[in-house]
């Protein structure tokens, strides 16, 4: 499932990014090892040995010269039934559809980041403005409480109202 800047265009203001963030959930080591073996075969450089405990695994696509971040535990994201229901399909190319994080979880992921930037807050404001009536407010607030970012969310909502 795609997360990060690449997911912003359908929900908020277009802002291009140079890397790709992907969230995965793999429960056993064998599957993880197999997934990364396949990536190696496809000419991906994997600098570290993948393990289930790593929050993020960095890859480098040698063929296309693209940095990829594989997130096993993205900030503000709980892999559960509701999160999966809120995913959307994004067309990355003519014949390539990819799952992307839903707008509410996108917001929480941005706000719960330990290394949150001012840019992340601006991204959230743009989503709040553009998705104003489409967001599942109850779900958003519940997730914001879960990740202790409700105060920040309220502040940004006020900012979005004046934007």
């Amino acid at each position: 499932m795609l997360i990060g800047g690449l997911v912003l265009p359908p929900y908020g203001q277009i802002r291009t990014t140079q890397d790709i963030d992907i969230a995965i959930t793999i429960k056993n080591m064998e599957t993880l090892r197999h997934a990364f073996e396949e990536l190696r075969k496809k000419n991906f450089e994997i600098p570290t040995t993948p393990n289930l405990e790593a929050a993020c695994i960095y890859l480098f696509d040698r063929e296309n010269v693209v940095d990829v971040e594989i997130w096993q535990r993205p900030d503000g994201v709980t892999f559960d039934k509701q999160l999966l229901q809120k995913r959307t399909r994004l067309p990355l190319a003519e014949d390539l559809l990819a799952w992307a994080i839903g707008p509410e979880d996108f917001i929480i992921n941005k706000l719960a980041r330990k290394d949150r930037r001012v840019q992340d807050e601006a991204d959230v404001v743009s989503v709040l403005v553009r998705q104003k009536d489409r967001l599942d407010e109850n779900y958003l607030v519940r997730r914001a409480k879960e990740f202790e970012v409700l105060g920040l969310l309220e502040t940004l909502k006020k900012k979005a109202q004046t934007t």
Binding site: L6, L8, P9, P10, I14, R15, T16, T17, Q18, D19, V65, D67, K81, L84, Q85, K86, R87, T88, R89, L90, P91, L92, A93, W99, A100, G102, D115, R116, R117, V118, Q119
Partner: protein, 174 residues
Amino acid sequence: MAIPLLVRVQIPPRPLKTDRFLREEVYFPFGNKMLDDEAAILKAVSSNPCGVRELVEKLHWKTERVVLLLKTMEKEGFIEFHENITLNRGRPKKLVVATTLGDEFLETFEKCQRKAIQINYNDVKSAVYQANLAKKLEEYHISPFKRFWELNSIAFKIRNSITVENPAKTSPDF
């Protein structure tokens, strides 16, 4: 009511040390309290010159702080003290008046405030990371400009494919 008569009583101000502002811009990228304070004083007196006591009341600051700032600003040429001669008894009141330079400073300061780019430490780290990615592209003989447009076109393609008439498909499987 007595008509105020403004009389200049102070010696001409010393020339402005512009390098001070350059230094402060470099060393105080996240705001400079003194410049903020000076701008607040200029804002308070620009449209309506007033005495020190009134200024203290307007700003809700300590008298010593206001007096100290006024002295500095006078030296910088931002304000002048004009004597308000009236027919009333007692010592004539000194009015704080913004000079042309002070008005110009306030205008520029407010313009800069509007243009301020908000960033934090993580934004700077991210900018360095993005710059390193661009450097990596060059090492692989890929134009960062072309890559930017490639990503831009993907971003537009994604956005244009999801419209109100054609909303994003949500997962029905869970």
